[in-house]
Amino acid sequence: MDAVKRYFRSPAAVVGLLLLLVVIAMAITASWIYPRDPLALAGRPLIWPFSNPRFLLGTDNSGRDIAAQIFYGARISLLIGGVATVIAVVIGVLIGAFAGYYGGWVDTVLMRITEAFQTLPNFVLLLVLVAVFGSTLTTVTIAVGIVSWPAPARLTRAEFMSLRSREFVQAGRTLGMKDIQLILGEILPNALPPVIVYASVVMAVSILLESALAFLRLSDPNVASWGNLIGLGRDVLRVQWYVSAIPGIAILLTVLAVSLVGQGLNDALNPRLKSR
């Protein structure tokens, strides 16, 4: 396919994809490489990285293996990033599609709801949701998804508004198609590319939101996540800074990878914009 060829022509996009594959590989191989519970005590607390071959990245303040937590943390980050993105995009596309296709009062109602969500700062809303519903992995993931849907909704709405009056949509209507067939079969496939590209931004933000929650110790404490590790490292930040820095770098690289892939997808799916 042309789009695939165009994607691999950009070195940044390829680097992003490789980084992302490394993170995915870490998530998959975590339980083979570190068969023990990553949250179990493994050795002396606060061993510096590269000083003990048993703990390549050292240990944290409770004596848990940082490398193991990084590997397992990749699972949590990808899980939260992926699932929250799917939730946000599905809600966003549905609301945006209906608002953009029908216009009128449907649009007014749906857009006022979207604006209500947008005027609240994401993170504050997230804190409220977690405070009310508790901080298990499931609620955190759903909460992150729920605070992230307005932007995809607006994007989808804009695409639908410009596509709904196109002649091919009118042609579909003259063939006797139902609204739902027009929305899902005719307009949505043409509206999706920018939304897919934007999904990478949602994913990056989701990972960051979870880390921020964990940093405030409001994420699920029973899973090994990068954010939890950063939060833990806060107490020893001045001397044993590596406890926070190592998961910080992991988050940085993952978010960078997702963003580069998103940019690459953008250039591959919208080739005309690139040749400016």
């Binding site: 091919f168 579909g172 063939l175 006797g176 005719e186």
Partner: protein
């Protein structure tokens, strides 16, 4: 004419290469031509012939990867093909000026017309502010804009299309250029406005002794305005000569083919029309209200004002008119893409104007539409076969059967049935329009509404599609409502013609009578405005 000092621009063996992966290696292959002072040279060709590339190459306005790779462009003793950007800036506007097809996009929407014309003087001259202002007003008066002072203050969206094009011409002529390049300057305009602009260009050219390089796809325009003609095909000049010689005695087969494809203005002999009325419109109206708050300041537009027309079974009813005449709104009312406010649309005994949305969906197989834009009317993410099979599938035909029928329809509209697996972008404009037609025919409609169905096509392709419509009408017993702004096309295919203006039908009747002996002043004006009308009338109707 042969005196060297009389020649303004000489193009000598000009070649322009295209980026890799384009459909051919060169946009222009060794093009040579000369333009003399006080002469209008028309460059004609179909889309993709390289005529616009040539205009942009002269001005050195080619996009990034398209570049001149051979030949010379001599203007006032200088070779523009190798001139530096600084030298070119002095030539553009002052020595050679250009006007474009779409004046709305060529003008800056945020600045007033007077400002934009005045800018020409600010850049190229040392005139004072008051002098510039006076010159701008003089120019606007020169291009016959009513009330130049007001036009100078106006923003582009406040002027009509014709006035915008006049403003563009004023801007182009501001510095008395020796050569004016006009790239399809009247294509986006209505026929009456087009006639005025053509007259204006001719008049200004005579008065100022400017040389004009006029690019067009329309032989009618050529007949109207040109002194000499250059015919281009695939980046080559295939024929050039005085307008009379080329039009009456074309030498090259391509020129002959192009001229043969120009629709004549005389209608073919009338056919016997059926007594049976298949589609009966009575008092159809559509009014738009926009703007306004709580009932104040509402703008009411009567898009269609109580139109009553009848379409006999098997006949073709042409609805002609300029933009804004309501003809497209009427077409969309008939197939209920738009809900009419009043009146009745009786199709085989059922009043469409009163059907509910659900009923329209079920009844829609009886009446189908072919759209104007072959690029926008096909979903780019569906395969051609899918597009054609879609309608029957929606109405309950099993998929396999619908696809088999799609192949049959492809053959019917003159496409290769094996092409059903290709996507729309792999087809040419004319082929896409055939797909659109196959899609409409897939539901076996009794009435076909064609909304400017051939307007976006090149003349030769247009002729092919029209011929095909003729054949299909006979073979399938179709009744057609044919919407067009082009009277020449209407004359060719329609049995009956209705002329619309401001939402009303001002005249209707048999095509031969309406075109041969127009009664209403507006119809007469329309017919008189057709470019190269005498040329078109002189030609015999093609028997298709």
């Amino acid at each position: 004419m042969s005196a060297a000092d009389n020649t303004i621009l000489t193009i000598d063996g000009l070649s322009v290469k295209l980026p890799k992966g384009a459909d051919r290696s060169h946009a222009l292959n060794g093009v040579s031509l000369a333009i003399n002072a006080n002469e209008i040279v028309c460059v004609v060709g179909e889309s993709g012939s390289g005529k616009s590339v040539m205009a942009n190459a002269i001005m050195r306005l080619l996009p990034g990867e398209v570049a001149i790779d051979g030949g010379r462009v001599l203007f006032e003793g200088k070779d523009l093909a190798s001139a530096s950007n600084t030298e070119m800036r002095k030539v553009r506007g002052a020595g050679i000026a250009m006007i474009f097809q779409e004046p709305m996009t060529a003008l800056n929407p945020l600045r007033s017309i007077g400002d934009q014309i005045g800018e020409m003087f600010e850049i190229h001259t040392e005139l004072s502010k008051t002098e510039i202002k006076a010159r701008v007003l003089a120019l606007l008066a020169d291009v016959r804009i009513p009330d130049p002072a007001q036009a100078a203050r106006a923003y582009p969206h406040e002027l009509s299309g014709g006035q915008r094009q006049r403003a563009m011409i004023a801007m182009a002529l501001a510095l008395d250029p020796r050569l004016l390049i006009a790239d399809e300057p009247t294509t986006a305009l209505d026929v009456t406005t087009q006639a005025q602009i053509l007259k204006l260009i001719k008049e200004l050219q005579t008065r100022r002794n400017t040389a004009v390089l006029f690019i067009t796809h329309d032989f009618g325009v050529v007949a109207e305005i040109a002194d000499r003609v250059v015919v281009m095909q695939h980046g080559n000049v295939v024929e050039q000569g005085a307008v009379k010689d080329v039009l009456t005695d074309p030498q090259h087969p391509y020129t002959q083919q192009l001229i043969a494809a120009v629709p004549p203005l005389t209608a073919p002999p009338p056919r016997a029309l059926s007594e049976d009325i298949i589609l009966d419109l009575a008092d159809v109206s559509k009014t738009y209200r926009n703007g306004g708050f709580l009932g104040r300041g509402v703008r009411v537009t009567h898009a269609v004002k109580s139109v009553s027309l009848q379409l006999p079974r098997g006949a073709t009813l042409g609805i002609v008119g300029e933009s804004g005449s309501g003809k497209s709104t009427l077409a969309r009312c008939i197939i209920r893409l738009i809900d009419p406010d009043g009146g009745s649309i009786v199709l085989e005994g059922k009043d469409w104007a009163k059907l509910t949305r659900d009923e329209v969906r079920h009844e829609t197989k009886h009446i189908q539409m072919v759209f104007q834009d072959p690029f926008a009317s096909l979903n780019p993410r569906r395969k051609a076969g899918d597009l054609v099979a879609q309608g029957p599938i929606v109405h309950g035909t099993p998929r396999a059967e619908a696809v088999a029928n799609a192949k049959e329809l492809f053959r019917l509209v003159g496409l290769d049935p094996s092409a059903i697996d290709r996507f729309p972008h792999e087809f040419s404009g004319g082929q896409r329009q055939r797909i659109g037609l196959a899609r409409a025919l897939a539901l076996k409609p009794a009435v076909l509404v064609a909304d400017e169905a051939v307007s976006a096509l090149d003349v030769s392709v247009q002729a092919q599609v029209l011929t095909m419509l003729h054949e299909l009408r006979e073979r399938l017993g179709l009744s057609i409502v044919f919407i067009t702004h082009d009277l020449r096309v209407a004359a060719q295919i329609c049995d009956l013609v209705a002329v619309m203006k401001d939402g009303e039908v001002v005249e209707h009747g048999l095509a031969g009578e309406v075109f041969g002996n127009p009664q209403h002043a507006y119809t007469q004006a329309l017919l008189a405005s057709i470019p190269g009308g005498d040329f078109a009338r002189s030609r015999k109707p093609v028997t298709v």
